[in-house]
């Protein structure tokens, strides 16, 4: 039986930590995204014609939201579990009568919630810059939630794997950020040369951005069904890795 009280305790603790560092947790990513709107949406976007019939400023909104979601999900979840490992307070979680399910619900649930809130705020903020049209709001919410969860799971794995602060930043900097920028956040992949279009299909972020953008403008690089399948597959792989980590005690128990 799941220890809901324990999961709730970790979740509340992590949410309170975000609230106590509100500038870093919420304000900072929102300011960064607004700057993207100003630079790409207004300054550069005003000189670009429409993309697939959508103004460039509006076209990049889903990509920008995804950019914030992915980076924030990974950062929140990785730091959330890495910090107690770093300080040694993880002993308490490991000696508590809980399984990895409660730990995931607490840490990943809180990281995903924070990212979701940031995503919604960015979406609302973008309304001040461009005219937003959300054709499929339920799909939009579905992709938003799934992305928050799947990349929070990835961040959680990074936080468990990292044994110093450099490694904690390594994957987000060298893998996540390039994947996001090359994942069609600011363009459709058919704008790329054919060879790079093929390479892009190996980038999981392409499927996320494509599916999410489809929910807004019904414009997609790949079919929405494939996008959904890829996100679910990615989530399942992350869950399997975390299950293995807790089963073996890798980096957690000696």
């Amino acid at each position: 039986m799941i220890n809901t009280q324990a999961a709730k305790t970790i979740y509340k603790y992590e949410m309170l930590r975000a609230w106590n560092t509100i500038m870093q947790s919420f304000v900072s990513p929102i300011i960064s995204t607004v700057l993207y709107f100003v630079v790409f949406g207004s300054a550069i976007g005003s000189r670009i014609e429409t993309v697939e019939g959508v103004s460039y400023g509006a076209f990049i909104v889903p990509g920008l939201v995804m950019l914030a979601l992915l980076t924030q999900s990974v950062a929140n979840a990785s730091f959330g579990i890495y910090f107690p490992r770093f300080t040694g307070t993880i002993y308490e979680v490991l000696s508590a009568p809980i399984s990895f399910v409660e730990i995931l619900l607490g840490y990943v649930g809180a990281a995903a919630t924070k990212s979701f809130i940031i995503g919604m705020i960015i979406l609302a903020t973008s309304g001040f810059f461009v005219d937003l049209n959300i054709s499929h709001p339920f799909w939009m919410l579905g992709f938003l939630v799934l992305t928050c969860i799947s990349f929070s799971l990835l961040g959680f794995i990074i936080g468990l794997w990292a044994d110093n602060f450099e490694k904690l930043q390594l994957i987000p900097m060298l893998v996540i950020t390039p994947l996001v920028f090359l994942g069609g956040s600011f363009y459709t992949i058919d704008m790329l040369p054919p060879a790079w279009q093929t390479v892009s299909l190996f980038n999981p972020v392409v499927y996320l951005v494509s599916g999410f953008r489809w929910s807004f403008y019904e414009v997609a690089d790949v079919g929405v069904g494939i996008s959904l399948l890829m996100v679910l597959l990615f989530t399942a792989i992350c869950l399997a890795i975390i299950w293995w980590i807790f089963k073996t005690g890798y980096r957690l128990k000696q």
């Binding site: 509340k12 002993y91 000696q254």
Partner: protein, 314 residues
């Protein structure tokens, strides 16, 4: 090492427990022991002996390589939700969330163990530990002694039946150490079973009911404190002489006497449990030699003497 134990219903039962870390270091070798309900057990041993590994394994932080551990009859791996709920752990290091307040971190610990909030209990706990006045203080602002007590409050926040204290008085001053001893004996009165690891033999001597000695991954001995002294300790009689002598007289050679104190003391080591200690005969023999006696005294080995004899002086 299998040690005989008559307890048929121990709160913790460790059976043939071994631990070899990934780097090949053997931390525990075939440990078997029972811990009785309501007792204070002190685990003595030098650094790296395996004390922390033993309690970390029982608490679920370290995976055992071989053997089993049961808490109140429940296996720590199969029934971990039940066993861990019964245990509180105070780690050796002051591992605390520095930016949290005392109240917040104690509430977190209670929730983590699946217990509903109970502000009245936690208030009493913090008062008992003289922390109530500091409940809204950030942990980073507290002294080392207070931080140690916060760790104890966290470990007791879910009302465990068993409390593990890993080196609770390491690096603390004498006054605080005595305070900690009072706290531990107070918890025992409330029915909490306490297992503490320590370097300080005087600590074990002062508060423990039983003492176990771990050395180089093995449990060398575990027994009642007094029984241990009787079994492994030596009793000595020191005969102080009026005048120094150069060597033990030939007529006293049957007693294996040791000459010390610059020739002014004859030291006789004997077994107090044996039917014939030989004391009367020795005193008669000393009188026969014509030596004048100034004083006669006896002494019993301390736990420290026993500890050193078991593990050496390292």
């Amino acid at each position: 090492m299998n040690l005989p134990d008559m307890d048929t219903n121990p709160i913790i039962s460790v059976e043939a427990l071994s631990k070899v870390y990934g780097n090949g270091h053997r931390a525990l070798t075939d440990i078997t022991l029972n811990i009785h309900t309501g007792e204070i057990l002190a685990l003595l041993g030098p650094n790296g002996a395996g004390k922390t590994t033993l309690i970390s394994t029982i608490c679920g932080i370290v995976n055992p390589s071989e053997g089993s551990v049961k808490v109140s009859g429940y296996d720590i791996e199969q029934d971990y939700r039940i066993t861990r709920a019964m245990i509180g752990l105070v780690p050796q290091e002051l591992t605390l969330p520095s930016f949290d307040t005392v109240w917040h971190t104690v509430c977190f610990s209670r929730g983590l163990f699946g217990k509903e909030p109970d502000p009245a209990y936690l208030e009493q706990l913090l008062r008992d530990l003289s922390l109530w006045e500091k409940k809204d203080s950030a942990i980073r602002t507290l002294s080392g002694g207070m931080k140690r007590r916060v760790l104890i409050a966290k470990a007791l926040s879910h009302q465990p039946l068993v409390l593990f204290l890993d080196e609770p008085t390491a690096g603390v001053d004498v006054e605080l150490r005595k305070g900690m001893w009072n706290l531990v004996t107070g918890l025992k009165k409330l029915g909490v079973t306490i297992i503490l690891t320590t370097h300080y033999i005087e600590e074990a001597e002062a508060i423990a009911d039983r003492v176990g000695v771990i050395h180089k991954s093995e449990l060398l001995v575990i027994d009642d404190k007094q029984a241990l002294k009787h079994k492994l300790g030596k009793r000595q009689m020191t005969i102080e002489l009026e005048q120094p002598i150069a060597s033990v007289p030939h007529s006293l050679s049957g007693w294996s006497l040791e000459l010390s104190g610059e020739g002014r003391q004859l030291v006789y080591t004997y077994d107090s449990h044996s039917e014939h200690t030989g004391i009367s005969g020795l005193l008669d023999a000393v009188n026969s030699t014509g030596l004048l006696l100034k004083d006669v005294s006896t002494s019993q080995s301390s736990l420290e003497d026993i500890f050193i004899s078991l593990v050496g002086t390292e």
